[in-house]
């Protein structure tokens, strides 16, 4: 049974997601409507067609020329799960996404989990084990990973025959490490932790009750941001490692100027990122309502 605050957070996040879908859908439809090649049908180039047949083809598309009507039709389709038709691949967008999404989500799951785990573990080690120079190695590793483009990391992994999903982990980890380290070090230095140490509380109790708990909202947000980072990294990584996922599909759509496909992918990915962020917020509200209330 969800508590009142959790419901409140849930409804707020649902409203946010719905609003994003609506605005994202409208912006996407505008992009498609204004994109080059919209309203052009290559069948019109067929010299065997009579003037009447050409006119019939034009009237087929006439409804789309009205931006208002186009939006309404687009949104109606969106509500039914119809995301339009890919001109370059000659298949419905929904079908393409259904085929490729599981693979990308799987890679993302591994990548985010791996990246967050490595980043948090190293950040925790740096924060707890404050021996001078102890954090040089992880800091240098994080710095090196931040300085290499995701596509080059994917190339390195391809050369070493390592699956591309671990390249995602390497893209996510430095961001998590840097933010989490600063956060945990700052929390460790706060007066309430010093007081807890002075009272003789065990290290584990200090860590879980007095360091992790106050830092939980930011750490939860960090997981949400990692999902967005991982989605971004998935494009070059899937292209380089020839993984038939959504990232590779977006790249193909960009090269073929298949805007209906590309825009729908972008909106879908944005929604999934928002859902991940929202889940983190809802989980936090259920686990620590006091922290959520304070943050609000």
């Amino acid at each position: 049974m969800l508590a009142g605050l959790t419901w409140k957070v849930f409804l707020r996040q649902a409203r946010r997601i719905l609003l994003t879908a609506l605005i994202g859908g409208l912006l996407g439809a505008t992009l498609v409507r204004l994109g080059p090649g919209f309203g052009v049908d290559e069948r019109e180039l067929d010299t065997r067609l009579s003037q009447e047949s050409r006119q019939a083809i034009r009237s087929e598309r006439a409804a789309d020329n009205n931006i208002g009507m186009f939006y309404v039709r687009y949104l109606k389709g969106l509500a039914k799960g119809d995301l339009g038709f890919s001109r370059s691949l000659n298949r419905p967008v929904t079908e393409l996404l259904r085929e490729r999404l599981p693979l990308t989500l799987g890679s993302l799951g591994y990548g985010v989990l791996g990246g967050v785990s490595i980043g948090l573990a190293l950040a925790l080690a740096s924060a707890c084990w404050r021996v001078p120079g102890s954090n040089i190695a992880p800091a240098m590793l994080a710095g090196a990973c931040l300085a290499v483009p995701a596509a080059v990391i994917a190339l390195l992994f391809l050369w070493m025959n390592v699956p591309g999903r671990w390249a995602i982990a390497l893209v996510v980890f430095p961001h998590v490490y840097r933010y989490a380290k600063n956060l945990l070090v700052a929390t460790y230095q706060s007066p309430h932790v010093l007081a807890a140490q002075a009272k003789g509380l065990s290290n584990a109790r200090i860590l879980f009750a007095h360091v992790f708990a106050p830092a939980a909202p930011q750490l939860a947000a960090l997981v949400g941001i990692s999902v967005s980072l991982a989605f971004g990294a998935s494009i070059p990584i899937e292209v380089i490692s020839d993984t038939p996922g959504v990232g590779q599909l977006a790249w193909k759509a960009a090269l073929d100027r298949d805007l209906p496909l590309l825009v729908n992918i972008t909106v879908l990915v944005a929604l999934m990122t928002l859902v991940a962020n929202s889940l983190a917020d809802i989980a936090l509200a259920a686990w620590r309502p006091d922290v959520t209330r304070e943050a609000a």
Partner: protein, 278 residues
Amino acid sequence: MKVRVRIQQIGIAQTVALVLLALVALASLAAGWIAPSSYAEQFRDSISAPPSARFLLGTDDLGRDRFARLLYGTRVSLLLAPAAALLSTLLAALIGGLAGYLGGRWERYVTSGIDLFLSLPWLFLLLAARALLPLNTSPITSVAITFLLLGCLGWATPARIIRAGTRMLVHADFLTQARAGGISGFRLFWRHLLPNLRPILLAQFWISVPVFILSEANLGLLGLGVSEPLPSWGSMLRELENYAAVLQNPWMLAPVVLLVVVVGCLQVVLRTEERIAC
């Protein structure tokens, strides 16, 4: 004496990073004098040649001098990424600064807009916007499109931070005093608020530069960046897709090495800027 004091203030690592960045920037600016040939000139008698006194980094599979291409490519990436960062920081200052300054309903709307923009994954958005624009453009136009897009799409994160910084300043004593002295509206924002946001703006500028360099590199490797024959770090990295050739010709890794060194140096400089901003 002054130089020593400044070095002590910013630290040795930061000084070394700044010197390295300056050297790379100078070398790229002087490419016309340093490079023995043009980036597009083909030497058909020396295709895929190894390094020599004539071609310091060898030639590519079209017979072009790789060293010359690296210098000119560095010029494109290293000079246009700061230009794009300047554009995005200015946009962010305008949007975030005005939202924080005006407050109330405007601030809520702008914050929601920023949140919405941030929920769109950066590279997907970049691909969508890039696909909307012509792909078969001249090299110079492709450079302008790539970096203008980076500048125009990269404003959201800095805008959020600048908005927060403005909110902290908007009730400061000096602004209250300026208001009491009869200064208001745009003059108050432009002459009194914006100059005090300079450390945050500088930090955001420095944060954006490596992000844009890496984004261009990713776009270039995906074939959506700067068009041939104009070189950039991104387009030069495309050579690395041929693993067998890289194994035989390790000097092909020169663009990656330079890219990592420059982005690493920028990160070191960035730490100083962040410290000053805080």
